[in-house]
Amino acid sequence: MASVHESLYFNPMLSNGVVHANVFGVRDWVTPHKMALLVLLSELGRAGAQLGLLERRRLNRLLLPLLQGPDMALSRLRKAIEECCPHLAGSVHIRLKLMAEGELKDMEQFFDDLSDSFSGTEPEVHKTSVVGLFLRHMILAYNKLSFSQVYKLYTALQQYFQKDEKKDGADENEMELTNPEELDGKMEKEELDGPLREEEIACSGPLSQKQAEYFLSQQASLLKNDETKALAPASLQKELNNLLKFNPDFAEAHYLSYLNSLRVQDVFSSTHSLLHYFDRLILTGAESKSNGDEGYGRSLRYAALNLAALHCRFGHYQQAELALQEAIRIAQESNDHVCLQHCLSWLYILEQKIFDSCVLLEHSVNKSLHFGLPYLASLGIQSLVQQRAFAGKAANKLMDALKDSDLLHWKHSLSELIDISIAQKTAIWRLYGRSTMALQQAQTLLSMNSLEAVNVGVQQNNTESFAVVLCHLAELHAEQGYFAAASEILKHLKERFPPNSQHAQLWMLFDQKIQFERAMNDGRYHVADSLVAGITALNSIEGVYRKAIVLKAQNQMSEAHKLLQKLLIHCQKIKNTEMVIRVLLSIAELYWRSSCHTIALPVLLQALALAQEYSLQYLASETVLNLAFSQLILGIPEQALNILHMAIEPVLAHGAVLDKGCAMFLVAKCQVASAASYTPQKKIEALESAILNLNEAKSYFAKVDCKEQLRDVLYFQARLFHTLGRTQERNKCAMLFRQLHQELPAHGVPLINAFK
């Protein structure tokens, strides 16, 4: 089961994906773009009644993003206005032209006139409206400028305007260029300007404060929710470097650069950026009086905590622990309970790598509730549920706990946690072997409208929960033999989580597991063997297990046994019960393959006991199947039939197609075996029903394309028909069997003795 929690690292700046810190105190500055907006506003006022209702509405909708958005080139602005109202665009352009090509006094006059819009008994603009505030801000900012600044603004306006003109002119010029000499001259100039131009592009337009903030918050939220939509790591870094070049005090950029370096798994630069960010933050924290000393100490604690998170992310657990200790110590010294809670959650995550620590977690949940930290509390509950599920606690209690925490989520609209909760439910249902429930939960998450989606405009978030759910979905489909659907889902996963992204490992593992299963079904063991290496790289335990299975399938019993014993001991040590049971089953299979059914029985019973204790229902029924098979071989088919009734229901309801087939096949075998002692009449009935069951098994095997099993079933069926004297059917089965038999290599295991 994939763990959902590891990736949730605390981040002081981002909550719900928005950059909150605005420590620098925005001061508005007049820029040429803003002047163009002012012109637009004044034209709008002047045009007044002439505008149609539709145009007016379009313009109003345009205004807000323009006022709040970043600066843009004049041509883009003009296009935007033109789309709403071509007439107005023309008049704005003319007024700007007049101002830019006129004198300084034109601009001064313009600003003088601006304040008129407030005056009068019925002013055009209300003072406290959005537009009014903007106007007043601008007027104030303009009045504050010194003479040289005013002059600079004017030249900037001229450049702004001329750039636009030039762009228009350039297109025409190129058409007229015919003179070869002139072309030469131009070429030379271009050549000279070549490297410089590149420079210019690199530092294209220093961003204004607002632009920069917008850019950062947008990228940060994209990084969190939908990495593929954010800028590529290299270009984002370039932008950030550019930003920092022009405004080295912009500390948030360092944080984003840290996040960006995390994306590409760059330890060095991410550490560098993180520490730089906190060094900067410490300054600003100290400067702002409201926080005083408190704010300064606070950032220190979180600095250490974040460093711990960073090391944890890169798998340096020892380093992370040291950093965490430091954070805890400082937080304790300054009585910061909130920070301590964060530390505690992290401590749990770290300790989890070493041993189970429910106590820590319970403590964390209690305290977090006490200090009113719903996010941490329910994160704790979720971790707790996860751990309890592995520890085999009662399922109803776990589901209750999840329900309670869900209440908390909806109350505080923690959409991220809702996603995680659903993903976790999917995983737990799968752990218990209830594939229908898992399927239902997975679909719920996928078709649910996220709370955040409304704001960001992204359809779905690209968080870990989605990756988990999609992976489970793929596997569920593959189990049912819908390989096309499964590969479709995997393809989607590949697109949404590109191979270098954080959660890509999840789908890589599932992809290989599915491929492995298919290869095993088809009997292409060499292919499966080649996949083992890939699986081992992503999950070592799973890899070893699969290796053993391949060895077993290749009849290398003693190697497989050795490997499985080793794995068993390891899994018992780390308390991975699910894997323990699976390993026990494989060992039992090894035993009965070597015809040691009596030795297999206690192993199977042990597995059964474990599976029932941890309520891993599906594994339990699989164990029962194995048990029944052993009993069949040991000559007590009646007993086998008895216990089969116990298992057949869950297998048919939740099982993989292959398991269903095996189960039905086994039932038929048992029926035949137990029919031996019946009266002839009863015997025929039993054989008839066995044939029906075999038909069902056949259809299951056909679904997953298991030719070997199919062949066995056919052989068996032919024998039954023969006994019943139905020659035609017998011949048909025999023919099919022969076809398959020619296709497949025969191997030594006697047909009747193979259960799987």
Binding site: F24, R27, W29, V30, T31, L145, S146, S148, Q149, K152, L153, A156, K189, L192, D193, P195, L196, E199, C203, P206, L207, S208, Q209, A212, K245, F246, N247, P248, D249, V267, F268, T271, L275, H276, D279, R280, I282, L283, G285, A286, Y296, L300, A303, A304, L307, H311, F314, H316, Q319, L322, A323, Q325, E326, R329, I330
Partner: protein
């Protein structure tokens, strides 16, 4: 006029071949003429450098004085404009100078024309920074003239019409545009065309960041190259090589050059040979009492040695000469810092930064002052600024580490100390600091490695061994602990310093007990006797002596031959000098 003309002009002063200092008169002639030519072009600093160096050589008789530069036809045509513009230029009216030089064709006038345009741009840039349009523009104020200058100069460069000075200006423009690679090429070319122009060499020094880069440069083989190499070795912290070069320059006849003397002093300062550096600086001040350059380094030395009266004298003296110089402010800052008036010190460092925002050292020093004032956040700010200006400023990294250490974040500061250590791999202070942090984090294996390494690279404060010994003691590795203490005592004694060293008594006490446990009575009693010489261990020493006496009397009689005390360095008892070898310890085993 083409390359030929430029070559002819350069040929007149073509420098003698590589490292050939046999003809000092010729060198002097070249220096005098290049000083004159630099001055004509307004390149004050290069002129000053050449003149200083020329002053160090024997005066020439009248007959051998270099003739005044020959005027060409073009020079004559531009003479009036040049004379007028030069006087404007000297009065810092650059735009005016450029205006009157428009259209001048002669090399000299053309250079002055371009140079004054460049300087005008720079001056405006500095002025602009004061009132810009908002914070977003703060970083982007740039010299507007640079682009035009680059286009024009590169055209001339392609046509090979630039002389040495022109190439130099072209290089400066490229560097200002952050086109480092191109700039290096152009500076190398400038050095080839006019090797005597120190400015080009100096710019190269600033652009070359490591030894590898230096190897791949093809430099002209002249005596100027020796000066360049010495200078760049100092910059790259290759002090041994630098000192060698300077020594050979002195041997060649430049013994009176204040430039070389100051450089040697700076080099000694860099390897922390404080006494040598101090004596050289004192000598320098005798020869050149009104010198302000490098005096900040001198004051650092005085500060380290806590020589209050000398520092005070220096501060007053410099203040009289010129109080609005960066170096003066720095000296005064150091002076206040030594007197523990840290607020005032910080004030003066701030002033230094106002005078020259690119003056690196002041940020770091200011950081130190804030640290003293316990204003950690301001200190962090200052250090960060220092790093921003120069990423290779190891003192700032070290200072940041110290700040966080004071804030009791030993793990956090590891990163900073590591950075500092990277920059100065052979500086024991960073290693000791790293070791202390590891010790606080209870990572004793790493700590041991750090201390051992610190000892191996030559420990300045002599504390690494004691710390190492204590670590061994803690880990119950008594054998190694004893070894470390012995080495430590040997070190202290071989220095010949009889200065009261705190840990000597501890060392002797441990050794006495160690030998006592090992039943080596002679050694034990020798150490115990030593213990009696210190106040804090006297009683223990006496008690131990009594015990030894008792046990000895019980046992056999001691051997009577008294060997040389084992703790004296071997060099004092025998003639084999102990060699310190740096064992290849893997310091980077820890993840960053």
């Amino acid at each position: 006029i083409g390359r030929a003309g430029a070559m002819a002009a350069a040929g007149m002063v073509a420098a003698a071949g590589g490292g050939d200092f046999s003809d000092l008169r010729e060198i002097k002639k070249q220096l005098l003429s290049v000083a004159e030519r630099s001055r004509e072009r307004g390149l004050q600093h290069s002129g000053k450098w050449a003149a200083e160096l020329a002053f160090a050589l024997e005066p020439l008789p009248l007959s051998e004085l270099p003739p005044p530069p020959v005027l060409t036809e073009e020079d004559a045509r531009d003479l009036d404009a040049y004379t007028l513009a030069k006087s404007y230029f000297d009065l810092k009216e650059y735009d005016r100078a450029a205006y009157f030089l428009q259209g001048c064709k002669s090399q000299k006038a053309y250079f002055l024309y371009m140079y004054s345009r460049y300087l005008s741009g720079e001056k405006k840039k500095d002025d602009e920074t004061v009132d810009s349009l908002g914070p977003l523009e703060k970083g982007q104020v740039k010299n507007e003239a640079l682009r035009e200058l680059r286009v024009e100069l590169s055209k001339k460069h392609k046509a090979q019409e630039l002389d040495g000075f022109g190439l130099y200006l072209y290089g400066v423009v490229l560097r200002k545009l952050d086109l480092v690679k191109e700039a290096i090429d152009v500076f190398v070319e400038a050095a080839h065309v006019l090797p005597l122009h120190w400015g080009a060499w100096l710019e190269l020094c600033n652009l070359i960041t490591d030894k590898e880069m230096l190897k791949f440069l093809s430099l002209p083989d002249t005596w100027m190259k020796e000066f360049f190499l010495a200078h760049i070795y100092t910059e790259l912290q290759l002090i041994e090589e630098a000192l060698q070069k300077y020594q050979s320059l002195i041997d060649a006849g430049f013994s009176k050059s204040t430039y070389i003397i100051s450089q040697i002093a700076v080099a000694y300062h860099n390897i922390r040979d404080i006494d040598k550096a101090l004596s050289i600086f004192n000598e320098l001040r005798k020869q050149d009492p009104y010198r302000i350059e490098n005096m900040d380094t001198f004051s650092n030395l005085l500060y380290v040695r806590s020589m209050k009266p000398e520092l005070s004298y220096l501060a007053h003296n410099l203040c009289e000469i010129d109080k609005y110089r960066v170096e003066t402010c720095c000296v005064i800052g150091n002076y206040y810092s030594l007197r523990s008036q840290h607020e005032k010190a910080a004030l003066y460092f701030q002033r230094a930064l106002k005078l020259n925002p690119r003056y690196l050292g002041a940020w770091t020093l200011m950081g130190h002052e804030y640290m003293e004032m316990k204003n950690t956040s301001a200190a962090i700010q200052a250090y960060r600024h220092a790093i921003e200006v120069n990423k290779r400023d190891y003192r700032a990294w070290y200072g940041l580490g110290q700040t966080y250490e004071i804030l009791k974040m030993p793990f956090y500061c590891l990163y900073y100390y590591r950075r500092a250590h990277q920059l100065r791999p052979n500086d024991s202070r960073m290693l000791v600091a790293l070791g202390e942090c590891y010790e606080k984090l209870n990572q004793l294996v790493e700590a041991k490695k750090c201390y051992w390494r610190a000892y191996a690279v030559g420990d300045v404060e002599k504390m690494a061994l004691v710390k190492l010994a204590k670590l061994h003691e803690q880990l119950n590795e008594s054998e190694q602990a004893a070894q470390c203490y012995i080495k430590y005592i040997q070190d202290i004694y071989s220095c010949g310093e009889v200065v009261e060293h705190l840990e000597v008594s501890t060392a002797f006490r441990y050794l006495a007990q160690y030998y006592f446990k090992c039943k080596l009575w002679d050694e034990a009693s020798a150490c115990a006797q030593k213990c009696c010489a210190f106040n804090d261990t006297r009683e223990e020493g006496k008690a131990l002596l009594r015990q030894i006496l008792q046990l000895r009397n019980q046992g056999e009689t001691s051997s009577t031959d008294v060997a040389a005390p084992f703790f004296l360095p071997a060099s004092l008892s025998a003639n084999n000098t102990p060699t310190r070898r740096v064992s290849p310890l893997n310091l980077s085993s820890v993840t960053p």
